[in-house]
């Protein structure tokens, strides 16, 4: 069934990447800017090797991944059921949606002062900020998905006597699963953006803290190295989440 991959799909991005690197090289070696303002690719590569050899980069990656995982999983475990419940109860929706929307539009970074005062320094403020960043979009997306389930599914379910928990797990949940997967990808993206800011203020390690420390030491080569790692990890994990969309029982949600 699988189509052979179009060679353009991996050749073209490589061409763009090489072009980008060439421009970067050209700007650096034409001395348009001093080296401490714009680190050269060579300097970034050197700093990357240093960070890997010292083991700091690996430690920072593990710290960031752990914080995102905890905050994100907590938001999903609480947010998806909350969205399911709200989607099925109109009065609850009327009551809670304005408040949920309010918090969704509040930048998670606004919680930084509270995060530090309440949870001090370490993993906890980061967990909290990731949770605050992803919980509200997940609730609202799940709720909207439930509200748009075609009523025909519930009529069929009624004809065949699906009730209670069985109705929820065998009809409602599978009917929204494609949209829930999309919502998870979007909110994971948010959490990966937020972790960098969270670690700049509330942590002593992590990828965001790495950038912060590089700034303090005027080591932009190290900052760029961390930026590249953050971008690549974010893309990689999104690719993993995208695998969920290939499950046979959710394909329908993306193909019509």
């Amino acid at each position: 069934m699988r189509k052979p991959r179009d060679p353009g799909s991996y050749l073209l991005p490589v061409v763009v990447l090489l072009g980008f690197l060439a421009i970067w090289f050209f700007i650096c070696y034409s001395n348009l800017f001093p080296a401490y303002v714009l680190p050269s690719p060579g300097a970034v590569w050197k700093s990357f090797r240093e960070e890997v050899v010292s083991g700091r980069l690996a430690d920072d990656i593990v710290a960031s991944l752990w914080r995102v995982a905890v905050g994100f999983v907590a938001a999903a475990v609480l947010g998806i059921p909350a969205g399911l419940w709200l989607g099925q109860h109109m009065h609850a929706r009327q009551a809670f949606v304005p408040m949920l929307n309010f918090f969704r539009f509040l930048s998670p970074l606004a919680w930084i002062p509270f995060a530090i005062l309440w949870f001090h320094i370490g993993d906890k403020p980061a967990f909290f900020l990731i949770f605050m960043a992803t919980f509200f979009p997940l609730v609202l997306a799940t709720m909207a998905a439930v509200a748009t389930i075609p009523s025909i599914y519930f009529r069929v379910a009624r004809d065949y006597h699906y009730k209670g928990i069985e109705l929820l797990t065998k009809v409602t949940f599978p009917a929204i699963l494609p949209q829930v997967i999309t919502a998870l990808r979007v909110s994971y993206g948010i959490s990966w953006v937020v972790i960098v800011a969270a670690e700049m203020v509330g942590c002593q390690d992590g990828l965001g803290y790495g950038i912060w420390e590089a700034r303090n030491g005027l080591r932009l080569d190290s900052a760029v190295c961390y930026m590249i790692v953050i971008g690549l990890l974010g893309m990689g994990i999104d690719r993993l989440l995208a695998q969920l969309t290939k499950l046979p029982n959710v394909r329908w949600g993306y193909e019509r």
Binding site: I152, R155, V156, D159, H161, P174, N249, R251, W252, E255
Partner: protein
């Protein structure tokens, strides 16, 4: 004409509407409607769009309660909807198996499932998902699901209207063939006069809102009936005349 083993089960099924009136808010939809559907009968309701055909099906299935009058139903009722009544997250087999939920014995369930897939001639498509099938194939799966298990009565709400013309013609043959193998009582709603004439034992022509039965027409000819069968053409003429579409 029908398999003997099914006869007893069918005789248990009956649908009765007695002096049923219904309205949506201030809009009266049905007025004093009386209808008895006998076991094994194929009744087709025809009428102008918006005349309350679907409302009658919803009353028969118990999805809505009438404003006045009584509805009596005996037997297990299943509905075929216009389209997309299949669960898209389940395969063909899994969708049909929903119709077998009441069958307790797993071995019997498995056998029934295989029989039904063979009956609708979709062997090899058991593990396909609905979005991978054509419209006609999907409706065949729907038919298998409603025919499965212990159902007695089928309510069909313009089940073939989403198909193209040739697809509709094929599905009529298919329905006749399936009902011969697995007899059921059928109440079929359509705006398609050909469909009514080809399928019905009895056609009920409904008037404009609030709907009453303006004409009752018995068609004795054996099924399957050709489109050019004199009985079909005669019935179509009668229906058209009743609808004011032919002089």
């Amino acid at each position: 004409m029908y398999a003997g083993a099914m006869k007893d089960k069918r005789s248990d099924s009956r649908l009765v509407l007695e002096k049923v009136s219904h309205s949506y808010g201030a809009v009266p939809v049905l007025n004093d409607l009386n209808l008895v559907v006998d076991p094994g009968e194929v009744v087709v309701l025809v009428g102008p769009s918006g005349c309350g055909k679907t409302t009658i099906l919803n009353l028969l299935s118990g999805y809505i309660e009438p404003v006045s009058g009584t509805v009596r139903r005996e037997g297990i009722i299943r509905t075929v909807y216009q389209q997309d009544g299949l669960f898209p997250w389940l395969t063909v087999s899994e969708n049909i198996a929903i119709g077998l939920r009441s069958v307790e014995d797993p071995a019997r369930r498995e056998k029934e499932l295989l029989d039904l897939i063979a009956l609708i001639r979709l062997e090899g498509f058991e593990h396909h998902y609905p979005h991978q099938l054509s419209g006609g194939m999907r409706q065949r799966v729907e038919l298998a699901r409603v025919l499965a298990g212990d159902s007695d009565i089928l309510l069909m709400d313009e089940p073939f209207s989403a198909l193209d013309y040739q697809g509709r013609l094929r599905m009529r043959w298919e329905l006749v063939r399936l009902l011969e193998k697995r007899p059921h009582t059928v109440v079929f709603v359509t705006h398609d006069i050909e469909e009514a004439a080809q399928l019905a034992d009895r056609v009920l022509v409904l008037s404009n809102r609030p709907a009453t039965i303006s004409r009752e027409l018995h068609i004795e000819a054996l099924r399957p009936r050709d489109l050019t069968d004199p009985a079909v053409i005669g019935a179509m003429k009668e229906i058209l005349k009743e609808l004011g579409l032919q002089v």
